[in-house]
Each structure stands twice: as structure tokens, then as C-alpha cells.
Symmetry: C2
Subunit: 110 residues, 2 copies
């Protein structure tokens, strides 16, 4: 059994105002899928993009919207759950004044 | 894209004081893995058990311990992350006075 506290997992920057904590990853021995926290700072836009694998998301804190190339799709707030399918375009925008923080599960990176 | 609010997903009882919300399941079109919330009421013990698939867990609220047949293994509190491997015995005990609530990801049930 592996036991961690999320706050002790380093926040790795991926772009200005956007970071990721790899809570459980293949180096921990995850058999099939990885658990991350994504953190997006107030005012930051994570532009729509896509990739050939799904996201399963649970919003922990903050306020935002999930977007696609056509515009805003839905509000994100604590307890919001999203299934983004493989190849489905998606982006995020923090619309609050605190960090938008969500769990995001992906298949194990190869 | 599927969008839900976790609180609107029904809590299905699985045993006295223990319930589960299937946030994202195969009927939602999950390609590989399912996202659930497990809720264990104050004072309730979920005895050690095992199954041939892993759990990836993130504690949302409450206080508890994760156990195995030999006893207590670790504290569970908000932000605690657990990887329980396939066939690894595990149980839970709510040691607080509020519901112990955690996200638990499993491979898609067959």
C-alpha cells in the first residue's frame, strides 16, 4: 500500500500559472491509471487542446469553466465531475480569485 | 463530455452506514476506469477484504484509518492518497464524528 499526503507531492509547473501534482504514477506501481491534481491560478486560461486518452475529473476547490474551441461548456466548482473522452477538445479557465484545483485521472503514461 | 455534480449522484447503500456514489461508470461511457465516492458514517467499521483490482483513493472529508487484517495501517484525512494494489487486504474505520468521504477509482467493472 502506498500512502501520501497530496500537499507533500511537489507541484510541477507546466505553463504560466498551471501546475500538476502526480499523486500516483507508474513509478508508484499504478497498474493501469494515474492520479494527478491540476492547479490553475486565478485569472489563468488553459486553452483547448486534445489527446488520445480520457480524463476523469473531480473539482476540489475554486471556480472555473471547462471550455472547448466553440466557447464555454460548463461551470466547474467543488464537486463537479467531468468525463472528457479521448480526442475530445477541452480547456479550462479559472473564473474565481483562488486556485482552481481538480483531480484528473488518466491512463498510465507510456 | 459528461458533466455532473457529485451531490446529485445517488448514494447507494452497500452495508450499514456505508454508501457509494458511482460518479462515472461504464454506463457513462468510461473507457477504462470508474470514479466513485465512498461514504462511511461516524463509528462505522468496513472490515478488511480484498479483490483482484486496485484502488486509487483520495480522501475528501472526515477522519479515519485504513486497516489490514493485522490492524491499523495509516491515518486517513482530507488530502490523503492511497494506492491499494490488486489482492491487497484493506479496510476502513471512521474515527471521527462526521462522514468519512473519499474518491475511489477502480477499473471498469466487467
Amino acid at each position: 500500500m502506498i500512502i501520501k499526503q497530496a500537499s507533500q507531492v511537489p507541484l510541477k509547473p507546466v505553463a504560466k500559472g498551471i501546475g500538476i501534482r502526480w499523486l500516483l504514477a507508474p513509478q508508484d506501481g499504478t497498474p493501469n491509471y494515474a492520479m494527478r491534481i491540476i492547479e490553475i491560478q486565478a485569472g489563468i486560461v488553459f486553452k483547448p487542446h486534445h489527446h488520445p486518452y480520457e480524463h476523469e475529473i473531480y473539482v476540489l476547490s475554486g471556480q472555473g469553466v471547462v471550455t472547448n474551441p466553440q466557447g464555454d461548456v460548463a461551470e466547474m466548482k467543488p464537486g463537479t465531475v467531468l468525463l472528457i473522452q479521448p480526442d475530445e477538445p477541452h480547456g479550462y479557465r479559472n473564473t474565481g480569485d483562488t486556485v482552481l484545483q481538480f483531480i484528473c485521472i488518466i491512463p498510465n503514461p507510456k
